[in-house]
């Protein structure tokens, strides 16, 4: 198909490679390497109750700016994070990417995720819709926003201290 060789096809391939790489870093608990993927103005957002609740007026499961992301990774790297001792075993599939450009040169991505988490004798399956705003940087990207819309974000949730 000729579309594969068009710039749009290349962008899509770059995005897919980036998402696969990010998923791999998270699943392997490579927190510092994962942090390197972020732009300094990045926002990591996991809403709850409603998918599009305004985070300025509503509580979120996670609403991390870059400084808090650093804290999150610092915590996960340190001794005494009991809820990740031992760490969750993680395996995720990210797919169904839809890639679109943006006026300011950023790339918008929508994708789906199925994540299986195993810890302490329990297996959990999470489904989520992902939304990314990616800023091109060299031959890769930096994450300006990652929004994780869990299907069960209005249900009582258990241990979510691993990265989504």
């Amino acid at each position: 198909m000729s579309a594969v060789s068009t710039p749009v096809g290349e962008l899509r391939a770059q995005v897919t490679a980036f998402l696969v790489h990010e998923a791999d870093l998270i699943d392997q608990h490579r927190y510092d390497d994962w942090l390197q993927l972020w732009a300094p103005d990045g926002i990591y957002w996991v809403p709850c109750n409603e998918d599009d609740y305004d985070p300025r007026r509503h509580v979120s499961i996670i609403y991390d700016d870059y400084a808090r992301l650093q804290e999150r990774c610092f915590r996960l790297n340190s001794e005494g994070a009991h809820s990740q001792d031992p760490p969750s075993r993680l395996c995720r599939i990210v797919g169904n990417e839809q890639v679109s450009g943006d006026d300011d040169g950023d790339v918008r991505v929508r994708a789906n995720m199925i994540l299986v988490e195993v810890r302490a004798g329990e297996k959990n399956v999470y489904g989520a819709r992902l939304q990314y705003t990616l800023r091109p940087a060299g031959d890769s990207f930096r994450i300006r926003q990652k929004k994780v819309v869990l299907l069960d974000n209005d249900e009582p949730l258990g241990n979510l201290t691993f990265l989504l």
Partner: protein, 428 residues
């Protein structure tokens, strides 16, 4: 009754002055008795008035296994009724919040007004003459009352009034509200809903665990502030206190090491006043309300230091209204509602939210470690060869004030003894 060492004993004998038997947390028949004797007898926290501000607003809550609709009728009155059609028992309300003029059962179309009255029954001619819609409204809880907007329900028709039940905790509800210049909070920011595989009574008050369970929080505080001061607040040498308020109510008093100042970072992020236009506007509003800057600071400090358990199912902690939802002896849900302050700049509440998520959030840096410990507790308690747990910390040193309030060091087990003494009384 339960069996201990081969003997049938009453539940209350499972709690002694300095120790508790682990069946209290693991025995499913005890849990069933708790529903009847505690949750279906005592006043339990249900909802906040700000969740149903307008006529027709409703929210669904639970009391033990009962699904309960809290609705403000078209007449402006707040009622609480069981979410159960009088016909065949179907829930009449499917959503957790909304606005409705009526609730219609999806099964056969029976329709109730938002005041709970049965107003429509399809094809009524087939019921006999004795069929009386007037007697078939949604069943209300026996008693519903509120204290400063906090609605409580009791399924027992008789008993102490709500104010009598709240006792000394009312003072801390008052303090909780005083960070708002209007002395009002609004639970309009949604809920952080979590669960854990452990007993509901683990969600208590414990000043001893902080440096261990929350080591990473202490590390993060040190990373922010460059010092390890916060660790000292939770030791046997700290001036902070554990307090038994009576009736199973208890609190931690963290105020003795806390100071509020505009622009000053706090270790908890709760109640920080930013050195911004909004921060100064907030402080000015508080000065206007409370008379002086010193008083304003004192109210903000007092509010953020509230750390009270209103027995059995409500806690007010910093910015959180925390509701405990018992489900079985080994499974509990906790709904945390960040309390937004009425009459303050939006930035202040936005900071409250981010501070809330930092520690208390479903994926925050504090509370998830508590839940992990609760789950490990529940596993450990299954091994009951030696079933008695130690609750004697500070027992002999505890100070009983003239008004009956019992005080101990922040690391003492005053609070646990307070709650289990009340538990034993209720379970007699």
């Amino acid at each position: 009754m339960t069996v201990v060492d081969g003997q049938e004993v009453g539940y209350s004998s499972l709690v002694e002055e300095g120790r508790v038997h682990s069946a209290v947390f693991t025995d499913e028949s005890i849990f069933e008795a708790e529903l009847e004797r505690i949750f279906y007898t005592y006043w339990v926290y249900l909802a906040h008035e700000s969740e149903v501000p307008e006529p027709g607003d409703y929210c669904t809550k639970s009391i033990g296994r009962h699904s309960v609709v809290v609705a403000r009728g078209t007449d402006g009155v707040v009622r609480a009724f069981f979410n159960r059609c009088r016909h065949r028992g179907t829930t009449v309300c499917r959503y957790e919040r909304g606005n409705a003029e009526f609730f219609r059962c999806p099964y056969h179309g029976w329709t109730y007004s938002n005041r709970g009255t049965l107003i429509g029954v399809p094809f009524p001619s087939r019921y006999g003459p004795e069929f009386d819609k007037q007697n078939l409204g949604l069943v209300e809880v026996a008693r519903l009352d509120h204290y400063r907007g906090f609605y409580f329900a009791s399924l027992a028709g008789d008993g102490p009034s709500l104010v009598e039940h709240l006792g000394r905790t009312a003072e801390y509800i008052d303090m909780f509200l005083q960070a708002s210049p209007m002395e009002q909070v609004e639970l309009r920011a949604g809920a952080a809903k979590s669960n854990f595989h452990g007993n509901w009574k683990f969600v208590g008050m414990d000043g001893y665990h902080v440096n261990f369970t929350h080591k990473t929080v202490q590390d993060l505080q040190t990373r922010r502030t460059g010092n390890a001061e916060s660790r000292k607040n939770n030791s046997d040498r700290a001036p902070n206190l554990t307090v038994d308020l009576g009736g199973g109510h208890c609190r931690l008093d963290l105020s003795l090491t806390d100071r509020v100042e505009i622009g000053k970072a706090t270790s908890s992020l709760i109640g920080e006043i930013p050195d911004t236009e909004a921060g100064h506007r907030y402080l000015a509003l508080m000065v206007e309300r409370w008379g002086s800057e010193a008083e304003a600071y004192e109210r903000i400090r007092g509010s953020r230091d509230v750390h009270v358990h209103v027995w059995p199912n409500l806690q007010l902690i910093g910015s959180e209204v925390r509701v405990i939802r018992p489900t079985s002896s080994g499974y509990t849900e906790v709904f945390g509602y960040p309390a937004m302050l009425a009459g303050v700049p939006d930035e202040i509440n936005e900071r409250r939210l981010r501070g809330y998520e930092w520690f208390n959030g479903v994926a925050g840096f504090g509370t998830p470690d508590d839940r992990e410990i609760f789950e490990r507790n529940q596993v450990g308690l299954q091994s009951d060869k030696e079933p008695w747990l130690v609750l004697s910390r500070g027992l002999t040193q505890a100070e009983v004030r003239d008004d009956g309030v019992v005080i101990g060091n922040i690391t003492d087990e005053v609070t646990q003894r307070s709650q289990l003494r009340q538990w034993a009384k209720a379970m007699r």
